[in-house]
């Protein structure tokens, strides 16, 4: 997500790094470059100016050159500001004490409301709710038909009738009560904010159904207009959050960064594809980390955890413990490679890693094909050899090479790399020094369905493992670390899956 912005900002930091010590002129120059990077990413001009001014004053106030790595301080400041602009916490949703919980979707034409309505319904269902969709877009030809087809796919009922949008919405609410559906999602027609009649109409819909949540559905590729669009809808219907759509493309991030600043409400969901399942909660802090090349280890950890479900969880936890203890075996290594496939392949994993690590991995020749060969080599070893690689001598090497269709040189290289990695892990054992200062409180892994106490994720879980590694590896001591201005995580009332 937002690769262009990420690349441009990191280029600014690279230039700073080459300078080492930073003079005020260097900061000034960097501020110009940051401005340009943000503008090229469609960030609203007003937001850009404020962002730059805040970063500049913090950078000039901080005694950058007393730090070991001045550029890193700048990165931290920018990171904190990004988190601030994107909104620090994921939005929380609670349910109305007297159902149904009413959700109204509004937005410009073509922003993706109908698809988002179906996706949201599916999401509510995954939360154990029973939604009813209301098709109140009676203007666009076949819009209700589109909603019905999508709803059928996810087995959610649709209510609509050919009256008028306000009447349909009110009738839909009555229908939800009658049927005992506990969530109502109202899809409305797209409208331009300058169309007073249509803006009055959506206001009337809101008055008729009194939504608990009103979401603006916004195309992530929208440019400078995001601010006006957000403000106008906010004035008309009072927005609670934004759903950003079409994030599977190369949207630059401007809409995400600007709308929050303009309207003050968070981005709650990200729509990332055309299938109804392509829909995620939006995590501003994680995104900020990814934009700055700090990686998104937490999301990766969650994916890992989801992939490790069931029986493997215990094994994974064991492996995690061994990694941290430095007793990592070739069997663990093999298992990890296999898990990587489940995580969506190496490319996806690399995309979540801090950019430095990802580059290192690529430069070190870690690629999918090589991983396949490594897997073959380990598979050709006996259990004894895997547990104690030291016993692998010349003749064993030849046997393994022949068995795996590789060369003895490749077998030797794997063994060397493995022992180096093991040594590194031993040295990198956590305990002293740069633990994440933000702590794990409130960072409940998505989908885990349990609230962890202030100790962090379940010990030994993949999340725990990665969280600990994150503390060691991230530049500046972890994404979100103790960056100035980063707020403590808020309460999480979002229900688990």
């Amino acid at each position: 997500m937002f690769e262009a912005l990420s690349g441009n900002l990191n280029a600014v930091f690279d230039r700073l790094r080459r300078k080492g010590r930073l003079r005020p002129e260097d900061i000034e120059e960097a501020m110009g470059e940051i401005r340009r990077a943000l503008l090229a990413a469609d960030v609203a001009t007003g937001v850009v100016a404020e962002f730059r001014d805040r970063v500049r004053s913090q950078a000039l106030a901080a005694d950058l050159n007393r730090a070991l790595n001045p550029t890193q301080q700048v990165v931290r400041i920018v990171h904190a500001e990004l988190v601030r602009s994107l909104g620090s916490d994921a939005m929380s949703i609670s349910f109305a004490p007297r159902p149904p919980t009413v959700v109204l979707l509004a937005g410009l034409q073509g922003s993706g409301k109908t698809t988002a309505a179906a996706k949201l319904a599916r999401w509510f269902r995954s939360q154990g709710r029973s939604p009813l969709l209301v098709g109140a877009d009676l203007s666009r030809p076949a819009a209700v038909e589109q909603l019905r087809v999508l709803a059928a796919e996810i087995a959610v009922p649709v209510f609509s009738e050919a009256t008028d949008p306000v009447a349909v919405s009110a009738a839909g609410l009555a229908e939800a009560r009658r049927l005992g559906r506990d969530v109502l999602i109202c899809d409305t027609a797209g409208r331009q904010v300058v169309d007073e009649a249509l803006m009055a109409e959506v206001r009337a819909i809101g008055e008729a159904i009194q939504p608990h949540y009103t979401f603006l559905v916004l195309d992530a590729m929208v440019g400078q207009e995001a601010v006006r669009v957000g403000q106008s809808f906010h004035e008309a219907v009072g927005l609670d959050a934004v759903i950003l759509t079409k994030l599977d493309g190369d949207a630059r991030g401007g809409a995400a960064l600007s709308v929050r600043a303009a309207v003050g409400c968070p981005v709650a969901f990200a729509s990332t594809g055309e299938r109804v399942g392509d829909f995620e909660r939006f995590h501003p802090d994680r995104l900020a980390g990814r934009i700055l090349g700090m990686g998104d280890l937490l999301s990766l950890a969650e994916k890992a955890e989801a992939a490790y479900e069931g029986r493997q969880a215990a094994e994974a936890a064991g492996a995690a413990e061994r990694v941290l203890a430095g007793d990592f075996t070739l069997d663990d290594f093999l298992e990890q490679m296999r898990q990587m496939r489940k995580l969506g392949g190496l490319g996806d994993v690399l995309a979540h890693l801090p950019s430095e690590q990802a580059t290192q991995a690529t430069e070190a020749g870690v690629d999918e094909r090589r991983l396949g060969r490594m897997e073959a080599i380990i598979c050709s070893m006996t259990p004894g050899e895997r547990a104690q690689p030291a016993i692998i001598d010349g003749s064993r090497r030849r046997r393994i090479a022949a068995g795996s269709g590789t060369t003895t040189a490749e077998v030797g290289e794997l063994l060397r790399n493995f022992s180096a990695a093991r040594k590194m892990m031993r040295n990198a054992r956590p305990g002293g020094g740069r633990r994440r200062s933000k702590g794990s409180k409130g960072r409940k892994p998505r989908g885990s369905g349990r609230v962890t106490p202030a100790g962090g994720a379940r010990r030994g879980s993949a999340a725990d493992l990665l969280e600990r590694l994150e503390g060691l590896e991230s530049p500046g001591g972890g994404a979100g670390g103790s960056a100035p201005g980063s707020q403590p995580p808020g309460p999480l009332s979002w229900p688990g899956r």
Partner: protein, 325 residues
Amino acid sequence: MTTARDLPEDVFEDPPPAPRWRARLAKARSALGERLGAALARPQLDAGTWEALEEALLGADVSWEVTGQLLERLRAEASERHIADPGELRSLLASGVADLMDAPDAGLDRSGSPAVWLFVGVNGSGKTTTIGKLAHAEVAAGRRVVLAAADTFRAAATEQLAAWAERAGAHLVGGNPGGDPAAVAFDAASHAAATGADVVMIDTAGRLHTNHNLMGELAKIRRVAERAPGELREVLVTLDATVGQNGLTQARMFGEAAGVTGAVLTKLDGSARGGSLLSVRAELGVAVKLVGLGEGLGDLVPFDAAAFAAALVGDDEEYADVRGA
């Protein structure tokens, strides 16, 4: 067989486009217009004016590069003509934009029997609606139109186009949900050729330009449309007026996949003015051919560079001058 290429744009003349364009856009001042108002109200032309101008252009989705070019030209003109009153810059800026966007031949190519027009663009950018409106205009001008519902992917896309076909008085050729879109395009062209229709408009599924597979599918639809009866004359990419710097990438990628011949600027009736289209024209040479001004049958007009510039820069009087001339 008639070569309809140089037919006057009479299809759009009832009611004449200019009043329609103006009536539609009158709803809101452009963001650029508002900011220029502030920038140009300064008593004299100084560094602050230029900064405010830059900020205003960037704030209207005009790319960094094009903003630089426009301002460079403006500076040169201002010093050449010894302009001291910032207020005079507005119309100069408008003509700079108009010159940039002007294209000698932005008409639609109607030659071929039938002429085949392919519509491409990202999801929700306005392909289907544009086809509906354009079909209406063509039918009104006495041409026989076949619509190809080659969006076999999105739910109820065929029903949506069918509704437009009925309104416009065009014939619809559809396929099965999930069917091969290229086959629908081929069938429609064959049907049009067999029945002596004049124009075939192919609606395609919206797709993000970054999706390689779907862009490959689009290239295939194009190849099939080329081999099908009739001549493939236009490949039009729809670009939403609200789009930011992404618009250039969209136009480029759709161009690479399907060989775009022009752009349709949609939703100009909204608050956004399509400032990112400037770099589409400047960097890719792609001309805007049509403009969408609403969701009604009549809300499509031929592109007019001067009117576009006036709308972007927010100069109603300038606009009236241009049209009145």
